[in-house]
Amino acid sequence: MEQVLQGTGVVTGIGIATVKIVSTDLTGDLKKYGAGTAAEEAGKFADALQAAGAELVQLKEAALASGQQNQADIMDAHYAMINDPGLAANIQAKIEQGAAAPQAALAAAEEYAALFDSMEDAYMRERAADVRDIGGRLARLLVGSGQVEYGPEPVVLCAREIEPSLAASMPEDKVQGIILGLGSTTSHTVIIAKARSIPAVTGLGDAINHIAAGTTVIVDGYNGHVILDPTAEHLSDYRKKLEAEAVRKQQDSQMAALPAMTKNGKRVQLAANVGSPADMEAARKQGAEGVGLFRSEFLFLGREVPPNEEEQFAAYKAVAEQCEKQLCVVRTMDIGGDKPLRYLNISKEENPFLGWRAIRISLDRPELFMTQLKAILRAGAFGNVAIMLPMIISAAEIAAAKQAVEQAKAELIKEGKAFDAAMPVGIMIETPAAAVTARELAGVCDFFSIGTNDLVQYTLAVDRGNPAVSPLYSHFHPAVLRLIDGVVKAGHEQGIWVGMCGEMAGDPLAVPLLTAMGFDELSMSAPAIPRVKEVIRRFDDEQMEQVLKKALTLKDPGAIRGLMTEFVGQ
């Protein structure tokens, strides 16, 4: 009988196949495990240590190759734990007392984990999970489970969680989808699934334990539905969707090679928003022309100390190089009280979005800012890099930041490091203050990029995360459209280029308006690029100018959206 489970769709797409259970629970395997003599167990343990060490080295290298320094550091720590003489001696002692090797490994790890569990420091308490992970890794290798055998038929992988090493070995042609009990959008398995476009749904909870192997399942990564034993009707519906998706993917990949150009030949540069070098592959696939927004704050999150110059330099350089000749815009750290970091010492704020954040922190903490600027300037020696300043409200802030840039250059010269001495410095236009004074600001910087998410929120005084007011949030509000239109004009009058890197840039309904306003560049998440490009290519300049003129006369966001829906067609 059909059963529908609701989870969170984390990788969009449709997958239809039979369920394959990936077991992370070792209980069954542990029971079946035939223990040998103490000497035999000690030998097996020594082999498992070797194998675990090799796995961790591999995982570390994979993390480094995708620019995930943090993950690489964790793998390093795990590697040191695997080689810990105390842990090994503890396990050896248990084996000599007659324990089977896998149980000995689990029990010894648990002893250390209990020690960490009891510590006062929250960070250290979390390390208990690392030690348990090590124990689990050894036990899994000892009982020989955890390797997934793929047959000729395609499958949907089903598990509470999937270890990154297993995810890394998934054959793309066999795995049609992934469903997980645990809920995370940032786990390694999800990142790997995203990079390979394998539809995935997470957060299914305990329901995952009741799914039988071999069940036919539909994974809907768009709405988070997992349909077990689907009815014939559902199956045929979803088969059609799957076919339509295949056709669209085909069209998208053809679109990737075409230029973003109106019928009259007016070009708009379509760039990608990225958070790490790992996002560059998807960007390239979708035909992105460079990076319009590298969110450098991802390098700063989830860690105890800020990333040093070398680490930042490696990440910026990796993205700059992958942009080849195209522009790579690195936005300096945009963090505030909503994402508190221990090393920033941001005290609790009533209004983090109106508080100490982004450029305000950078200007108050010169040591942090200097490290970041030096790393960005150095990356400029390997590509076409620009610096972008977030949350600007005045020309004085730009002047102060530019002074810091000059100081960073002077330090780099002293240190004899290569950098781009002529690197452009632009600003985000995301406050009404910056939008209204755009003409003055354009005179003192090299480019504008409009951040619509914040600009809409600040202009309309609407927090879109608040369901009571979120219906009021719209980038089609006349106030927003007029502000944006004014910013483009002000920038062009002063001879600088103007781009947009908020969600509006990736909205196909907004694209004819933005193109008519004269945007030089639109930057968006990579999957949005083909659709936006298709819209730009469909119209001539006259048509888009007409619809912009009409839109600017309308008074209501709903009416403007309606006009655009009719114009673009959904």
Partner: protein, 88 residues
């Protein structure tokens, strides 16, 4: 047997990443190395023992090395601690 006293000045103290670096460095020498912090001691080649001490910024530690390369070993560990483990 040789001894030195050091202060952990890096922001994170001997948390996971610096602890891993510390243990890696200590393990590259033949000498036996012991870390003393307050009244607690740990084998400097055991990351779990070191992390178990939960040493934060500003902690004073004493390192004792005993073996053929004890002087080089302490010099190496001192350099690592004083470089703040490469934190920026």
């Amino acid at each position: 047997m040789t001894k030195i006293e050091l202060v952990l000045t890096n922001a994170a103290g001997l948390h996971a990443r610096p602890a891993a670096q510390f243990v890696q460095k200590a393990s590259s020498y033949a000498s036996k190395v012991t870390l003393l912090a307050g009244t607690k001691t740990a084998d400097a080649k055991s990351i779990l023992a070191i992390m178990g001490l939960g040493l934060g910024q500003g902690t004073k530690i004493e390192l004792t090395a005993d073996g053929p390369d004890e002087t080089a070993c302490l010099a190496g560990l001192q350099a690592l601690v004083e470089s703040n483990f490469g934190e920026g």
